[in-house]
């Protein structure tokens, strides 16, 4: 494959498609957002002490201060 030819064609494709599109000022149509609002409303953060307890309960190792001890990945 001639990669430089593909690159040149890509540049031309982008230029021509962009020119064909022209200018516009409208709201954007975003993926998913129109159907379902998957983000939470902005608010003050809340701490749930039960979550920490539940998470520590299933931790394989932890220290006395309540932090997880995890094995360092062998690839590091």
């Amino acid at each position: 494959m001639d990669e430089s030819k593909v690159r040149r064609e890509a540049e031309r494709v982008l230029k021509e498609l962009s020119e064909a599109l022209g200018e516009i000022s409208l709201e954007e149509t975003y993926y998913v957002v129109e159907e379902i609002n998957v983000t939470r409303n902005d608010a003050e953060p809340e701490l749930n002490p039960e979550f920490r307890k539940a998470a520590l309960k299933i931790a394989p190792h932890k220290d006395e201060e309540g932090y997880y001890i995890a094995e360092m990945g062998s690839w590091v």
């Binding site: 064909a20 599109l21 954007e28």
Partner: protein, 449 residues
């Protein structure tokens, strides 16, 4: 008598049905190249279905052989996306649509050829070689669901699954003279579909007749709790509502279609519309003034989403690093997607495409507001000869008339309208979101009810 009727009447067993297709594939697929892999367990699965038929507890697809595009996960079979990147990737699970097909006792007969990673409109970019058009020898079958459409046209399966991002079901359905449906975005679960552009992709059926297409669609459609993008719709039952009576249907035809499609294609589409008028429909003119903007909008969106989707093929998890082994079209789209993503702070390409997407969607829905359906051509030109050198932009132009449905998220279906010099020409119907039944009814009427 169709295979479905034969199976239902007991004149044919599931095993006999599968065996005859396997024999046909063995005898003729060397020439067509519709399949990348056949299911080695298909006969065994058919025998199990025959047992269920005997016990009277078989599902509505019992014994039907179904071909699946190679970008849909079928447990134990390779989902290669017709790319060297995934040539040895064996799917570890069933996509939701496959689970639903199995639940209704359909039999997966094999994985079909396609344009590499669905990047193409001709069926020529596959790592496994181009697919021939069984309905127009020497010409492209269209793409990217080339093998699925060819498998139906060549009588290698009862039904097939394809995926449609910008026309990948409808374009090959038109070129191969079969029925193809792109459902409303969110109607059919995408879980297990290897994505090209996630905001546009939809899985849909290909079949030789409208009833079979409706049957497969009603099996695969419906809400999936695993996906945020599936719509909360109840169980569909298209087959029981199929009607060829189009009294009261108003069908729109946009004059812009005549500007972009070849005269002989328009002639066949108008013949088909005249037949529908004879069956009670009235045809009126609608306007799609920004139709020409759909193609650049679509491609600028696809480049970015495809680039994002391909970042998982880094050579560590799934075989090869995509940039090192892919074909020209895939590489071109990755390069374009990377460039646009890097430049996106300026909002010059992707954000602008998203704005135009709003325009196209608004325009399609407005045009549909006064009619039941919009009918028109599927592709602007007839399929070219395999191997003919085509400029990338000329290749993209095949999608001009199919991309608006994907951008707007609306359903669209294609059925053969006629022939030009023995080359099939498909008529395309668009409807409002979730009005697949109207499309099916219009196609059913055209088929002769």
């Amino acid at each position: 008598m169709s295979a479905l009727e034969e199976l239902q009447s007991g004149a044919l067993t599931a095993e006999e049905n599968v065996v005859r297709y396997l024999e046909a594939i063995e005898a003729r697929d060397g020439e067509i190249n519709a399949f990348i892999e056949v299911n080695p367990r298909a006969i065994e699965e058919a025998r199990a279905v025959d047992e269920k038929i005997k016990q009277g507890r078989a599902g509505k697809l019992a014994g039907l052989a179904i071909a699946v595009k190679s970008n849909i996960n079928v447990r134990g079979l390779r989902a290669t996306c017709a790319s060297k990147t995934l040539e040895n990737y064996v799917a570890p699970y069933d996509a939701t649509v496959i689970e639903r097909i199995r639940r209704e006792d359909g039999i997966i007969i094999g994985m079909t050829n396609m344009d590499e990673f669905a990047c193409g409109s001709s069926g020529e970019t596959s790592y496994f070689g181009a697919t021939q058009n069984p309905a127009a020898k020497g010409r492209i079958p269209g793409g990217s669901s080339s093998g699925s459409a060819a498998a139906i046209a060549a009588n290698f399966a009862d039904l097939a699954l394809g995926s449609d991002t910008g026309g990948s079901i409808r374009n090959p359905a038109s070129h191969c003279g079969v029925v193809g449906i792109k459902p409303t975005y969110g109607l059919v679960p995408r879980y297990g579909l290897i994505d090209l552009a996630m905001s546009l992709d939809q899985i849909g059926p290909l079949a030789r007749d409208v009833y079979s297409a409706a049957l497969l669609l009603e099996v695969i459609a419906g809400y999936n709790p695993k996906e945020a993008t599936t719509l909360r719709v109840s169980q569909q039952n298209y087959t029981s509502k199929l009607s060829a009576d189009l009294s009261g249907y108003t069908i729109g035809f946009a004059k812009e279609f005549e500007e972009y499609a070849a005269k002989e294609i328009i002639r066949e589409v108008k013949h088909a519309l005249a037949k529908l008028e004879a069956q009670g429909a009235s045809v009126v003119e609608v306007e799609l003034p920004n139709l020409s903007k759909a193609l650049p909008t679509y491609y600028l969106t696809v480049f970015v989403e495809f680039f994002s989707a391909t970042r998982r093929y880094d050579g560590r998890r799934y075989g090869y690093r995509i940039e090192e082994v892919c074909g020209e079209e895939v590489l071109r789209r990755i390069l374009l997607g990377r460039y646009i993503s890097q430049k996106e702070y300026s909002g010059k390409y992707y954000r602008r495409a998203l704005q135009f997407r709003s325009l196209i969607k608004k325009e399609m829905l407005e045009a549909l507001s006064g009619v039941d359906l919009i009918a028109g051509p599927t592709t602007p030109k007839l399929p070219h000869r395999i191997g003919e050198s085509i400029d990338p932009l000329a290749m993209y132009a095949y999608d001009l008339l199919t991309v608006p449905a994907n951008l707007a998220g609306i359903p669209a279906g294609v059925i053969k309208a006629g022939e030009v010099g023995e080359i099939p020409v498909g008529i395309q119907f668009h409807a409002k979101p979730l009005e697949e039944q109207k499309i099916l009814n219009a196609m059913y009427a055209l088929e002769g009810g």
